[in-house]
């Protein structure tokens, strides 16, 4: 029984390691400036916990085989070792706290710093099950919005056109284009319930909370079209709340904006 | 214990615990005041933990109150209905009468102790009536649960506190009633008196806590800005 259990634990450990090392399913390639730092921290942590995982399971399996019952021999009456306990407590504490501190670096860069000046502002207003994207337009200012004016057919964010700043605002649905290699400042809002803006290749996820305007910033360094998913349960078709992030070279992005201005 | 539950007394018998072997339940002579097998201080200990729990409930409400107040906007502080001051006084008095009752109980002056205990229950009832009066006064001013966040919290906190006071009144009332019905036995048996005192003690702990809690809520709602 002991041998079998040790074998099974060994095989499970091996299978797990193969699944993680083989990367048959893995992160999509990172397209943001901060993405690689997150991936590096992830790999560092994964390596450390991977080693801990293998060591712990191996120790368990080894003890199970080595100390399985043999005849009527007594077990050892060994139940305390202050030195050993202090040692392993200190080591774990040191490793975990170091990881915890390292894990804050990217976080601080993303969330403690204000969006860099000159970042392109984009407002994302989530609603059950749509992403509304708004650009401030040529004047660089978001116009006033009013809840009463919201109309899913032609005014999804409730632009108040009596405000001059609102007149050049560009609103799109589920289509978010951004220029590559430029800081983007996203203002996240929600009209109804909590949603979460999740673009896996961007390594960016942030809840959109009704009543709050949450600011995030990032810089995409690769062009392409990516999916925006909702990561917070928001109701019936949460699993189909799909938007598209288009990362375009600057000239194409300007052209894209231009087309929408002329509509 | 072999009998099915037929009255509150039976429940109490079970709650207090088991009987020593070979001594069947001689309830005919009101024998239920026999010393319980629960060690001394168990009621008090359990009550302390129960109060910690109730304290967490109101801590939860308090944190919600502070967060909600911090959001500002539609927060419109109410003026306290005048009757609240009188209610507060009533509740403070009830703590004093309860305290006095316990002093008498310790001196084995059972009749006096029971009078003061009854007074406490009466004051508690008056307090509840007064709180209802405060609700009526607010309603007359057109202020309801959903009028603004501060009124929401006022109704919520007074109701939550009121429910706990009501529980206290039921508990104290039951203990008082039992005391009146068995005061002759209590007088003659120090062990039973001690047990009775432990019950009253635990109830008193609860009552003083509710009293203090009300003062705290009153300050939170109206004085602390």
């Amino acid at each position: 029984m002991g041998l079998a259990l040790a074998l099974v634990i060994g095989l499970i450990t091996l299978g797990t390691v193969i699944l993680f090392v083989g990367r048959f399913w893995w992160f999509p390639e990172a397209i943001s400036e901060h993405g690689p730092s997150i991936d590096r921290q992830f790999m560092l942590t994964l390596t450390i916990i991977g080693i801990a995982f293998v060591l712990a399971q191996a120790a368990l399996a080894f003890f199970i085989v080595r100390y399985r019952r043999r005849g009527e021999q007594r077990a050892s009456y060994w139940h305390e070792s202050p030195r050993l306990e202090v040692l392993w407590t200190t080591i774990t504490a040191a490793v975990f706290i170091t990881l915890a501190i390292l894990g804050q670096r990217v976080w601080a860069q993303l969330h403690l710093n204000a969006p860099p000046p000159g970042a392109l502002q984009v407002e994302v207003t989530a609603q059950q099950f749509v992403w509304n994207i708004r650009y401030p337009g040529p004047d660089g200012k978001f116009g006033r919005t009013r809840t009463e004016l919201i109309n899913d057919v032609d005014n999804p964010v409730g632009l108040d056109f009596t405000d001059p700043a609102a007149q050049d605002d560009i609103v799109t649905v589920n289509q978010m284009a951004i220029p590559v290699n430029r800081d983007i400042h996203v203002i996240l809002r929600s009209k109804d319930v909590i949603h979460s803006f999740w673009v896996p290749p961007l390594r960016m996820k942030q809840d959109a909370v009704p009543g709050l305007a949450i600011n995030i910033h990032f810089k995409a360094v690769k062009t392409g079209q990516f999916e925006i998913a909702c990561a917070e349960l928001c109701g019936l078709t949460h699993h189909r709340m799909r938007g598209f992030l288009l990362v375009l070279p600057e000239p194409e992005f300007q052209k894209w904006l231009q087309q929408r201005t002329n509509l | 214990m072999a009998k099915p539950i037929s009255s509150l007394k039976d429940i109490e018998t079970i709650a207090v615990g088991s009987r020593p072997p070979g001594r069947p339940d001689d309830s005919g002579r009101g024998g239920r005041e026999r010393p319980p097998s629960l060690p001394e201080g168990s009621y008090r200990l359990a009550m302390l933990f129960a109060l910690a729990s109730i304290g967490m409930l109101f801590l939860g409400f308090t944190s919600a109150y502070l967060v909600r107040q911090g959001l500002g906007g539609d927060w419109q502080p109410l003026d306290p209905p005048a009757i609240l001051w009188a209610n507060t006084l009533l509740l403070l008095m009830s703590s004093a009468t309860l305290h006095r009752s316990r002093a008498f109980l310790r001196r084995e002056a059972i009749r006096e102790a029971l009078w003061w205990l009854s007074m406490t229950v009466a004051l508690g009832l008056l307090f509840l009536a007064g709180q209802y009066g405060a609700w009526r006064q607010l309603a007359a001013r057109g202020i309801y649960l959903d009028t603004n966040p501060h009124s929401s919290f006022f109704y919520l906190l007074t109701a939550a506190h009121g429910v706990h006071i009501l529980g206290g009144i039921l508990g104290l009332g039951y203990i008082t009633l039992r005391g009146w019905r068995r005061r002759l036995i209590l007088m003659g048996t120090p062990d039973r008196l001690k047990h009775y005192d432990a019950l009253v003690g635990a109830a008193a702990l609860y009552w003083h806590f509710m009293d203090g809690l009300w003062v705290y809520l009153f300050i939170l709602l109206f004085l602390w800005r």
Binding site: F24, Q41, A56, H79, G211 | L45
Partner: protein, 587 residues
């Protein structure tokens, strides 16, 4: 501490004896049976979810018979999927993982292990069970009201849970019943916790000092304290949520919301407030579920390793540290919620510190096995399985606890894998270890060893097959609570994993039938059990199986030894009962 010289005759009427019983053992069994009903339902719901995920468009006319309204047309619709998500989570967390290890085993064995004749307040104890049952029935009723069960998940995030039926099906009456059920459960837990605490502190028998308490008792005691302090906060949140729904208040609902083209009248509330209140309870709840499992594992490991548990004091300290830290880390559920990024850093550091006492426990379990004489009984297999799973599930917490890594991992299958392993499966393994271990004491018969081993192998391999692949799905970005992968291109490659996991889940769930069969078959047909079949040391093994109504009869046990005196050099046997006379036995 106390000498409770008392005995009570068992009540004679069936109703007082088995239904409205105040006997902690009967109440313990009532909790266990409730948990068994709940877990059976919870597993069935999870299988419906798994079927939907693997084959989203498939029709299941046979399965639809169980839910004729929700499954009209025979398919598992997305809204039904979400109500399954909600109900599976709520049932498992409250009515299985809290009910079985604490309400069930705690009630049955805590008084016996401390040498008491019953709980301190037997009537409160009885009430606690009946209120729990009422909570369960109210929750089940949510399936049968118009609109069905709520779709807001077990976390019931406002405003989705707060604004009523316009936000989605099941968010009307179903959500109200959900809140009511949770409120009842909170109250029941408080009554139970008071009993556990008072009994542990005040009803210990002569010689049972706090340092001679079995680790199971320490675990139940700490769990009770956690429950006592955490549940009231959930109750407070639940009351506020209910008022927002039916009283027109705005605690959690902000102004200017437009749901289904309607402007809502609420204004000024804070959705994050609900999350703070919820997780202030929710994180300790994780430990409420897992601590008793840790206690049982320590107990069973020591028994079958025939060795004293390694580092008893460190184990107690670790339980306490985990309990205490458990109250300080709730924010790690909210890193990407819009909460202050500074407090996120504090929460992250505290969260990773919880890894330290958890690691201490693992080290001590391994050290207990070092130079042991391991007997591979079924309870021991599950205890060893617990250690393996606890390590696997715990380590991924080191990733999730880091703010920056939580950005990609939050609300993905990585989280689902993590918490299922650590608080679901590990806790269930603790429950299984406890069931196989204490069954002979509870029913006077042994469970079938062969069936038990088969149950272990299938379950142990099965749960790894289910949950390890979920980690990589999370790494690939799969959000949780998605009814299908069809909506997104990046999810399409993950569909084969869904199929694999569903097949593994079906097999693993099937293996649980072995357990249920073994359990009920053994109650009537199992081999007769001796008083102390495992040659264990604690007080429950000194009294008949099943124990008499008043546990110890007129005699009150007197304790002379610690709980884990195995293989003491020079002793006649390789175990010393806690009640054995103090004089050192000469070999």
């Amino acid at each position: 501490m106390t000498q409770a010289v008392a005995t009570h005759a068992a009540p004679k009427s069936f109703i007082r004896r088995y239904i409205f019983s105040t006997d902690h053992k009967v109440i313990g069994l009532q909790y266990l049976f409730l948990a068994m009903v709940a877990v059976a339902i919870g597993i069935v719901l999870s299988l419906y979810m798994r079927l939907r995920l693997a084959w989203p468009t498939e029709r299941w006319p046979l399965l639809a018979k169980l839910f004729p309204n929700a499954m009209a047309g025979g398919t598992i619709s997305p809204e039904f999927y979400l109500s399954l998500v909600t109900m599976h989570g709520t049932i498992m967390i409250f009515f299985v993982l809290t009910t079985a290890p604490l309400g069930g085993f705690g009630n049955y064995f805590l008084p016996i292990q401390v040498g008491a004749h019953d709980m301190a307040f037997p009537v409160l104890n009885m009430l606690s069970f009946w209120v729990t049952l009422a909570g369960f029935l109210v929750l089940m009723a949510a399936f049968f009201v118009s609109g069905g069960a709520p779709i807001s998940g077990w976390t019931a995030y406002a405003p989705l849970s707060a604004v009523g039926e316009i936000a989605g099906p099941g968010l009307g009456m179903g959500q109200n019943l959900w809140i009511l059920s949770i409120a009842l459960f909170c109250i029941a837990s408080l009554l139970g916790a008071l009993n556990f605490i008072t009994t542990t502190l005040n009803l210990r028998t002569k010689g049972m000092s706090m340092t001679r308490l079995p680790l199971t008792v320490w675990a139940w005691f700490t769990t009770a304290v956690l429950a006592l302090l955490a549940f009231p906060v959930l109750l407070a949140g639940g009351i506020l949520l209910l008022l927002d729904r039916v009283g027109g208040t705005s605690f959690f609902v902000p102004g200017g919301l437009i749901v289904s083209d309607k402007i809502l009248p609420h204004k000024g509330g804070s959705p994050l407030l609900w999350q703070h209140l919820f997780w202030f309870f929710g994180h300790p709840e994780v430990y409420i579920a897992i601590l008793p499992g840790m206690g049982i594992t320590s107990h069973v490991l020591s028994t079958f390793a025939r060795k004293p548990i390694f580092g008893y004091r460190a184990m107690v300290a670790a339980i306490f540290a985990i309990g205490l830290l458990g109250f300080l880390v709730w924010g790690h559920h909210m890193f990407v919620s819009g909460m202050s990024p500074y407090s996120a850093i504090a929460f992250s550091l505290l969260t990773l510190s919880i890894g330290v006492p958890s690691a201490i426990k693992t080290f001590n379990w391994l050290a207990t096995l070092y130079k042991a004489q391991i007997r591979f009984t079924v309870p021991m297999l599950f205890a060893l399985g617990f250690v393996s799973i606890f390590v696997t599930g715990g380590l991924s917490g080191i990733i999730l606890g880091q703010t920056s890594l939580d950005i990609p991992m939050h609300d993905t299958y990585f989280v689902v894998a993590h918490f299922h392993l650590i608080m679901g499966v590990a806790a269930i393994f603790g429950i299984f270890a406890g069931t196989y271990y204490w069954f002979p004491k509870m029913f006077g018969r042994m469970m079938n060893e062969t069936l038990g081993k088969l149950h272990f192998w299938l379950t142990f391999i099965g749960i790894y097959a289910i949950f390890i692949p979920m980690h990589v799905m999370g790494i690939a970005g799969h959000p949780r609570r998605y009814a299908e992968t069809a909506g997104f291109d990046f999810l399409a490659p993950l569909q084969p994993l869904h199929v694999f996991i569903t097949i593994a889940a079906l097999i693993t769930a099937g293996a649980q039938l072995l357990f249920f069969f073994n359990f009920f078959w053994s109650i009537w047909k199992g081999k007769k059990a001796e008083v102390n079949p495992w040659r264990a040391t604690t007080l429950e093994w000194t009294i008949p199986s099943p124990p008499p109504h008043d546990n110890f009869g007129p005699q009150t046990p007197v304790v002379h030894h610690g709980p884990y005196e195995y293989s003491v050099p020079g002793a006649a046997e390789d175990y010393i009962l806690q009640t054995a006379p103090p004089a050192p036995t000469k070999a």
